[in-house]
């Protein structure tokens, strides 16, 4: 049997809006993935440490505080520094369209904005995850 995809769902930044994060975590679990949810207020350092410790294939970050341009690229940078650059990283939340190209250039594979279905997110992960 194929090993299930392991996903870390994380909340970087200080905002407490976790409806989206919990929703995605639950939907990914229902789709057969192994999901770890970090809870609120995780620094990029904490997220990267958790991802490496849990040996995940994917990190999904939900952020609604407006600090995405600062925090999301930081996570990718730290992953690369620690030799975990192969982890697929995506983000979601209230993120203006014009910020998305910059985030993608920084190594965020995809950014999902409000209105995205969980099915789209699941498909995206299945099509893009790098299996070891």
């Amino acid at each position: 049997m194929e090993k299930p995809i392991r996903v870390l769902v994380a909340k970087p930044g200080l905002d407490g809006h976790d409806r989206g994060a919990k929703m995605i975590a639950r939907a990914l679990r229902d789709a057969g993935m192994e999901v770890i949810y970090t809870g609120l207020r995780q620094s990029p350092e904490q997220i990267v440490a958790a991802a490496i410790q849990e040996d995940v294939d994917v990190i999904g970050m939900s952020i609604l505080s407006g600090a995405h341009n600062h925090l999301l690229p930081k996570v990718v940078e730290l992953l690369r520094e620690q030799g975990a650059g192969d982890i697929l990283v995506f983000g979601g939340g209230v993120i203006p369209e014009e910020d998305i190209p910059g985030l993608k250039a920084a190594g965020i594979a995809e950014v999902f904005t409000p209105g995205t279905t969980t099915t789209e997110t699941i498909e995206f992960i299945k099509n893009n995850v790098k299996k070891n």
Binding site: L14, A25, G39, S65, V94
Partner: protein, 559 residues
């Protein structure tokens, strides 16, 4: 409400109608769905008649506005006397920029201020704290010390406006800063009118900006109740909030049940701290969501008023009518706004405004069309404010009190929400009260289940969201969104340095030491916080002292 004989006749006539008129119509054209549901997912009948409200006793259950159990309203004349307070939640970047926005809103006819703080302020960190990086000034204004607060209210006479502050864990500190600014304007605390949110239980449940564990948090809240009863008597000391519970995905009945359960916990804590219920209860206020199902929402507000009145009278033995009256602020539902076709959000907000007003709100914030994308622009905020003004002056719904009372459906729904909410309160009582139910994750889990169900309904197309899963179009990305200048963080850091260079640092150290001692003891901490604030101790320093003594809350992570 009707005599037995009349009901029997109505039942008979209904049966007859079903067998003839209805049956014929259904045979020709069946209904579009097997089962119809409200916005919260409850089954809704085709038709309501006096039969559905026959057990409601008009005098005792519905009654008259301004009179127990306040189902029909908080006040006897409602909007015939004066309109609700149009209170637009605003704040971003620096105190200077927010001050400009407030002055603009007042010029445009806004009748109360509502301050949004940035996340570091809400969590008790100064702008120069490492965790504040990237967050300063983003979702609200950055306040680090009294110096920022002085700028925020510059030119706004605090004895003339009422100010609502969305601040919870560090509410005591921001209230102290407000009192200190008023002192400098020559305004004494007894003249101050406004509200602090100060509802930390819903932070653990849904909103997330908690700092301290539950026990010291409850102490801070009761300290504020006590201090304000004596010194700031016109101040609403808490805004017990269902808004964020609903935003997190709860149903209407859960919103009422969980919010009033939190309310019960605060009243119990205050009584336990030795306060008299009729001394502090008149200053309790509430904050609800205005979601899309207009009739269900109206029923929700009516149910909440009736249930709270009963709880205060029967459970807590309140004597003053003012202790039993549930007064509330409303905000339209941010979670119903779509990033797709954002102008459609104007219509959604208009319907939600109608719901809040027909439900008898005391004040209202209307969301702006672009809030699923970013903070609102001035133009969007103006449309949102105009929406309230159109409902107030043109729609006509304000001209009679509680206009939907007596609707067979709305009365039946009011009763049903009341009963469902009461069942949640009973369950929470059995678990040991709201604080315990939160620690166990019960409330969070219930909300999370409702939220998941809602999302799955959207994805299956069972629940239609115009522009999202039906009537979609290809769109250009929206232009002209509000951007917060990224240099705000640096500017705030500089301001902190200036404040620390100018203030009397010896006095600050002394006041912070006194505060620490008060926190370790059992005294009311408010006067000590006020002393520290007056010496320009920063928010981070004050909360830092409290963190040292009280520790920090650890979230129970559940899916």
């Amino acid at each position: 409400m009707f005599d037995k004989q009349e009901i029997a006749l109505i039942q008979e006539a209904k049966k007859e109608w079903e067998d003839s008129v209805l049956a014929k119509s259904l045979a020709k054209a069946p209904e579009s769905k097997e089962v119809f549901r409200t916005g919260s997912g409850d089954v809704i009948n085709r038709l309501y008649t006096p039969d559905d409200i026959k057990d409601i006793d008009y005098k005792n259950e519905i009654g008259f506005p301004g009179q127990y159990p306040f189902t029909r309203g908080y006040q006897p004349t409602m909007y015939r006397g004066r309109n609700w307070t149009m209170r637009m939640y605003a704040g971003f970047a620096t105190a200077e920029e927010s001050n400009e926005r407030y002055k603009y809103l007042v010029e445009q006819g806004s009748t109360g201020l509502s301050v949004a703080f940035d996340l570091p302020t809400q969590i008790g960190y100064d702008s120069d704290h490492p965790l504040s990086e990237g967050e300063v000034g983003k979702v609200g204004v950055a306040i680090d010390s009294l110096a920022d607060m002085e700028i925020l209210f510059n030119g706004i006479p605090l004895d003339k406006v009422s100010t609502s502050m969305t601040i919870n864990a560090p509410a005591s500190v921001l209230l102290a800063m407000y009192i200190a600014v008023a002192e400098k304007q020559g305004v004494t605390p007894d003249k101050l009118r406004g509200t602090i949110q100060n509802d930390v239980l819903k932070e653990y449940i849904a909103r997330g900006t908690y700092i301290f564990p539950t026990e010291p948090s409850m102490r801070l809240i009761t300290n504020i109740f006590e201090y304000c009863t004596k010194n700031v008597p016109q101040w609403n000391t808490i805004s017990i909030s269902g808004y964020h519970i609903r935003e997190a995905g709860s149903t209407a009945a859960q919103e009422v049940g969980f919010t009033l359960a939190d309310g019960i916990a605060y009243v119990e804590a205050a009584i336990k701290a030795g306060l008299n219920v009729d001394d502090f209860a008149p200053r309790l206020s509430f904050f609800f969501n205005a979601h899309l199902d207009v009739l269900e929402e109206v029923a929700k507000y009516r149910a909440a008023r009736r249930l709270w009145a009963k709880i205060m009278k029967e459970r807590f033995g309140a004597k003053k009518e003012k202790s039993m009256m549930l007064k509330f602020h409303t905000q339209t539902a941010g979670c119903t706004l779509t990033a797709q076709q954002p102008n459609n959000n104007i219509i959604r907000v208009a319907m939600q405004t109608l719901a809040a007003v027909m439900g008898g709100t005391q004040s209202l914030h209307t969301n702006s069309r672009d809030e699923a994308l970013a903070l609102p622009t001035t133009e969007s905020v103006t449309i949102a404010l105009r929406t309230q003004q159109i409902v107030a002056y043109e729609s006509g719904v304000t001209r009679t009190v509680d206009p939907l009372a007596g609707s067979y459906y709305v009365e039946a729904k009011t009763k049903q929400i009341e009963e469902e909410a009461m069942a949640y309160i009973k369950k929470i009582d059995e678990l040991g009260g709201a604080t315990r139910a939160i620690d166990l994750g019960y409330i969070q889990q219930e909300i999370s289940d409702s939220a998941y169900k809602y999302q799955m309904e959207i994805e299956s197309g069972e629940r239609i969201v115009v522009g999202v899963n039906k009537f979609q179009v290809e769109e250009e990305p929206p232009k002209g969104l509000l951007r917060v200048d990224p240099s705000v963080g640096e500017m705030q850091k500089k301001k902190i340095q200036d404040v620390k260079a100018k203030r009397n640092n010896e006095a600050v150290t002394e006041k912070l030491a006194a505060l620490k001692k008060a926190c370790e003891g059992t005294e009311n901490v408010m006067p000590f916080i006020l002393d520290a604030v007056r010496e320009y101790a920063t928010l981070g320093e004050i909360c830092g002292v409290m963190r040292e003594v009280f520790g920090e809350y650890e979230q129970s992570v559940l899916l």
